[in-house]
Amino acid sequence: MQLGKLVKTGLGVACMTGMLGFLADPAQADEGTIKVGILHSLSGTMAISETTLKDAMLMLIDEQNKKGGLLGKKLEAVVVDPASNWPLFAEKARELIQQDKVAAVFGCWTSVSRKSVLPVFEELDSLLFYPVQYEGEESSRNVFYTGAAPNQQAIPAVDYLMQSESVKRWVLAGTDYVYPRTTNKILETYLKLKGVKDEDIMINYTPFGQSDWQSIVAEIKKFGTAGKKTAVVSTINGDANVPFYKELANQGIKAEDIPVVAFSVGEEELAGVDTKPLVGHLAAWNYFMSIDTPENKDFIAKWHAFIKNDKRTTNDPMEAHYIGFNMWVKAVEKAGTTDPDKVIDAIVGVSVPNLSGGYSTMMPNHHITKPVLIGEIQGDGQFETVWQTPGLVVGDEWSDYLPDSKDLISDWRAPLSCGNFNVKTGKCGGKGGT
């Protein structure tokens, strides 16, 4: 395996260097442009999700240039391919910042890739906009988290199931890595606080790419026929979802009996599935393609025109990039420069329209405000919003439901300027943050 990995990295690097030379020829990099780095995997396992985000970023940059660019200069995209290889993410990030001198980077999908580039961004003092829902427990001066923190996705979803479906028994099913494990830890504490007993919680982890779900689905079915209303909270990631949903449908588990609420399944993931047997299963996001607002219609129309395919879907991380990019543009305009330190100071409090008809604001903890939507899967592969939080929810980086982090807050404004301030001891520093 080691050997294979080596070959893969080697080939990846070779491939990438060629591509980079092509996309960002130093000869063309004159003073007249502002460079924006795009750090999404275009090959390997994560290409399935990340390629779309690369295209979305190219579209946003294109749109901005049509509006006249930024600070009187054109924006120029620098695309690199970290090839779903976590150490390569760090190398590519360093390359973007040092060689290409990009003003900001938009990228990463998995938490492990973010953790891999984090020290690079802090060391070289640059900016990363991270567009995917994640497990929280992190706050960096150089990273802006435009996806959902657990309290912007998981907790409202559980609340909805408790209130509307009177769910009393819970299956927490996830892929075995940091995001599901942390989210499930938070949810377990939260459910117990709400009076759910130990025997009414079943936690199940599966390896990446699990494709044989027969016995796990049967077990869920068994767990679900114990008299109390049961729901599955799924943090199953990526490719494992399609076989999971196929097995649910084949074993005849309907949403009316045991609803599954997922945090990693969006329009894009459903594109490979026949959703008719899945109608009624849920997902919690901050955006659905089906949202009926003029902003969203406009965004979808532009996306279809840009990608030249009117069948392509839009999804939540795309909206996160839309928000993040516009926030960065506004902050640069406010600061009058792309200098990272000035932008970091300027961006807190910046408010831009989101696609669900409201505004999202960058908070001092570098997370943003968002509405939380619960949608049910429809026969056409789209979601229909069945519930939504009455107002905007502020992303909470340090969960209140984990013993390690409940006393921590983050505030990157002067004079505090700290990512993990402990309100009990009154000191900056502690677990996790920098």
Binding site: L3, G4, V7, K8, L11, L42, S43, G44, T45, A47, I48, T51, T52, S164, E165, D176, N204, Y205, T206, P207, G209, Q210, S211, D212, Q214, S215, I216, A218, E219, K221, K222, T225, A226, G227, D239, V242, P243, K246, E247, A249, N250, Q251, G252, A255, E256, P259, E268, E269, A271, G272, V273, D274, P277, G280, L282, E376, Q378, G379, E384, V386
Partner: protein, 545 residues
Amino acid sequence: MYSIDPTLRALRVYIATLAVLFAVLVHSAGAGAAEIAPLINALAQGNFDDREKAIENLAATGDAGVAPVLEALDGGNLYLRKTDGSVWIVRKEGDSLTLVDPRSGAAAGAAGADEIEKIKVNNRLRRAIDAALGSLTLLSGDVATRLNAAQAVFKSRDPTKIAAIEKAIAAEPDAGVKIAMEQARAAALLTSDASDDIKLASITIITARGDREALELLQSLADRSTGPVQTAALAGAHSIASELAAWDAAQNVWYGLSLGSVLLLAAIGLAITFGVMGVINMAHGEMVMIGAYTTFVVQETIRTSYPGLFDYSLLIAVPLAFIVAGAIGVLIERTIIRFLYGRPLETLLATWGLSLVLQQAVRTMFGPTNREVGNPSWMSGAFELGQITITYNRLWILCFTLAVFAILLAMLRYTALGLEMRAVTQNRRMAASMGIATSRVDALTFGLGSGIAGIAGVALSQIDNVSPNLGQSYIIDSFMVVVFGGVGNLWGTLVGAFTLGIANKFLEPVAGAVLGKIAILVLIILFIQKRPRGLFALKGRAVEA
């Protein structure tokens, strides 16, 4: 959506009052069309709570004529006309929307997409609709509908349905449906305040049903009753539980066989290229992927040009996948692998690189996202064998795998090509001096192995993602099966695959999926220490070759 203006609120009270009136009226006279209309219109008002009540009110009319309305609501075809608050069934043909009167079914002209609004349903409403439809369709002319209705009533356990279901039992001609209806009645009786004798009789009926729902029903009954009913319920629950434990073991064996068949299918091509020829073929998974993409292309062509053939798409895809993957296999052997015979490390690197090239090529051609490969109707759903759920797709894959295995075995044994293949792999120089064109046989053997991997892709497209990464997830498992079973022995591959499948499925419930997988790997490593040549080691000269 949730703020309701005062007039609507007043309307709701009014409707609720009406509903009570109707419920009373229905029993004497049956409600006419004019009286049901406001009940139907109420479906579009208020929040999900109010709509749930509206559904119950509609069901309380007992009028089978409202069933189409509820079905339309369930299917997302019921719309509110914004101008006057009336509710219509909408028929969609292309882009045009036709309003249909929900009571009479008569068309009432077209509507613009802006004038009407879909009435949203959520899971709770769908449940209410199912329960309502259950009591309304108990007397339907269709056996399947009546069976569904009986099951819906069983699930709802609603004592108010007893009268309706007794009427249905009396009229039921089909024995199977009658049993389901009696169980539904028993479930309803057990939640009612019927006498102990009736309950005891119901407990017997429920115990005979013997599934998890019956078990749960009896357990909850035992919790809230006393005396002989409690004793009988406990005894019934106990007997169901012990029976289910035995079924569970049988279910695990089935899951193991099914997982084993997938492993075997993925590994069987590798058993040829690696097992028989000795080529460490890291691009084997990509042949599987190419087979899956061939299925996708076939289905896409059928969808656009010959929609009627969809159920046969897999039958068409199997030979095509064999040809496409086999041809690519021959090409690879002729251009790359034949220069590397006897150099395992270089072969490994070359085929690994090749697998990356093939993956990226497919990614460029078809895009990085999953492509949808549909299940033909005969591969969807499941049936119950006793208390075991057997899904059709898994059953077909098992049969298909065994068929492929048998054909391959027969081919190697009884055809001239098979004889030549065995001759070349056992002693190349001797075979050559006997006049066999060894390089041609090499190419064909590699092509055969690749072609079979392609066929595996057709089957795997039914249960897994069709994405460029499809092959990667099977390559390790395939090598595991071939090495465990014994390199060069097809029977070993068969036994190895099923052993690993069943062992995995018995470990999984105990250790969890992650630890289960690790445990299997550890067991294989230990096993290989003891028997380096796998389960069925080849003996004799072939080993040295």
